[in-house]
Subunit: 339 residues, 2 copies
């Protein structure tokens, strides 16, 4: 069912299991315990950072499928996207999985684009078991979007640190206690910011646009949610989003409105304004948040994954940064959890 730009899922498409994989820098962060696997080596034994990113994604998929008590042949559709040119991490993982594959692209909003579409497939009876996943790798992203890390180029305090990690979720028609109840698909919002070292500020208005649409479409109040998390706005973007929402009359309580990009690293880790990358919202949601839901600490959360839809070419051609945000509601049946 649709209301405005929000899909409402009445058949409770459930999260059978999920996984989060991280790298050495994520292992030093406050959410380390919520990862299923943390690598000490950013190369993961591969000979390129791109192959390491693919490995992260493959491991996240494998782990989620395993935790769901399934085999890869049980998965009917694989939905994935990433930041690499031509989303090669996802496509090569799809080759490994060898199941029907739908490639998606929403930059760092890919996590919730995949979860929203996966939930829709299950809710509508067009699938019983879908795998949604995404990944990012700090050194691969730096190389592709900015400068190879080895150059040691400096960054302004508004810059963000791409998470080395991957997250995956198995969405199933079989009830698990944790389910996706609705999803709001975002529009592209572009306020004219051209600085790729200030993506949080660029993405904040897109997050606000989707959050407002969500509450407008569903006629609910913010008190409905135990937690509302944006994907990777970082400290600066988060403040802008909070201010904008406030200005538009939608005050989100400080203790229940956060940002995945502000949660993965400690304050004293040198990540400037916070975390970013597809794995930011994926790891926090599929690790930390779902763990809290399973422990009964959270009953209903809204994850608003944000994406900056630029490319190095669009930047070089003096284009501004089109941004988007997709929001997904995850609910738990009275604190009982999935596996």
């Amino acid at each position: 069912m649709i209301q405005g730009q929000t899909w409402i899922f009445s058949n409770r498409p459930s999260i059978a299991a999920s996984s989060a994989i991280g790298g050495p820098f994520e292992a030093q962060g406050p959410l380390a315990d919520d990862f299923d696997l943390l690598h000490g080596d950013i190369w993961l034994g591969q000979d390129s950072f791109e192959k390491a990113e693919k490995k992260l994604l493959e491991q996240a998929c494998e782990r989620a499928i395993d935790k769901a008590g399934m085999k890869k042949e049980d998965i009917q559709f694989f939905l994935a996207g990433d930041l690499m040119n031509q989303v090669i991490s996802s496509s090569f993982t799809a080759r490994t999985l060898a199941v029907p594959y739908l490639g998606i692209f929403g930059a760092c909003s890919s996590s919730m684009e995949g979860l929203a579409l996966g939930a829709l497939l299950v809710d509508s009876g067009n699938a019983d078991r879908v795998l949604a996943a995404t990944a990012s790798h700090n050194a691969a992203a730096e190389k592709q979007y900015r400068y190879p890390t080895e150059y040691g180029s400096q960054k302004p305090p508004t810059a963000q640190w791409t998470v080395t990690g991957a997250g995956a979720a198995v969405i199933s028609s079989e009830k698990s206690g944790i389910y996706v109840s609705s999803a709001t698909i975002g529009r592209v919002v572009d306020m004219g910011i051209q600085d790729p070292f200030n993506m949080g500020s660029a993405m904040a208005p897109a997050a606000v646009d989707t959050i407002e649409a969500h509450f407008r479409d569903l006629h609910i109040s913010v008190s409905e949610y135990d937690l509302i998390l944006t994907g990777d706005l970082g400290r600066i973007g988060h403040q802008i989003a909070a201010d904008l929402l406030d200005k538009h009359g939608l005050k989100l309580p400080e203790d229940r409105f956060g940002d995945c990009g502000m949660m993965i690293y400690r304050e004293d880790q040198p990540v400037q304004a916070g975390a970013s990358g597809c794995a930011s919202s994926a790891c926090v949601t599929y690790g930390h948040v779902l763990n809290r839901m399973k422990r009964g600490e959270l009953r209903k959360v809204l994850i608003v994954a944000t994406g900056a839809l630029l490319s190095p070419i669009s930047y070089q051609q003096k284009e501004s940064i089109p941004c988007i945000a997709h929001a997904v509601v995850i609910e738990s049946e009275g604190g009982k959890g999935g596996s």
Copy 2:
């Protein structure tokens, strides 16, 4: 409803209107009359080929929406993908449209990935009006994947020519006489081919895999279809696909099995093995094929869009080419057509 890897749409999600835009090289081809607009200048008045590609996509969207008698505000979801890094043509067009946007990536299979997902959204009641579109630009693709055209580098006879064009379709819950009845989502197939100048051969096994899955899932015979078209296998890939299908006991009659990549250009145009690019299957389907259906010449067609999921980086890192194909069935109610 799902059977195997095939979605069956029982509510007849309809194609309200479609469009095809092309460039000067396409204007010289045998399907010129089926384009809504043909540009004499590959720059389309823009200062980069990437911007020209975006312009093609914007025009295809505008034209399809207009032909459907709608305004852009009537579109609830925009599904699009292209070959550019970070699918910028699609994302920037989504900025222009300012409607909820789901970015997809299936390389040249994006046309049917978008149509399949769009039909599913409408069929399941999660949308009433969806726009699915894709584009490619010869000079932008040459620059990104190979060498800028200006270098004049030579190509082997197995190479294909990227179509400069765009295609779009408005999928609606309102009946138009032409509808999408099912879609088979493909798996990634990789037979180890590493040569990006021989993509037709690389993609042929993926097309075969999806075609076989389609007939297996639906328990129908090939005589069901007036026409079966692959996306952009070209002459060499088409022959391989025909031979493989034959070998597997699925003989497709020669007069009803073709390839979009062999239809767009004349035999004497210097395109080597044929056409490729996202616009290959999009322009042929959304222009030529739908026009024939509206004239009552075809009642039921199967479009099998093929995609090579490589990137220049995966190629440089000595990876082979993962390929995919998505198949969509378009039917006409006794030859009556949409607008």
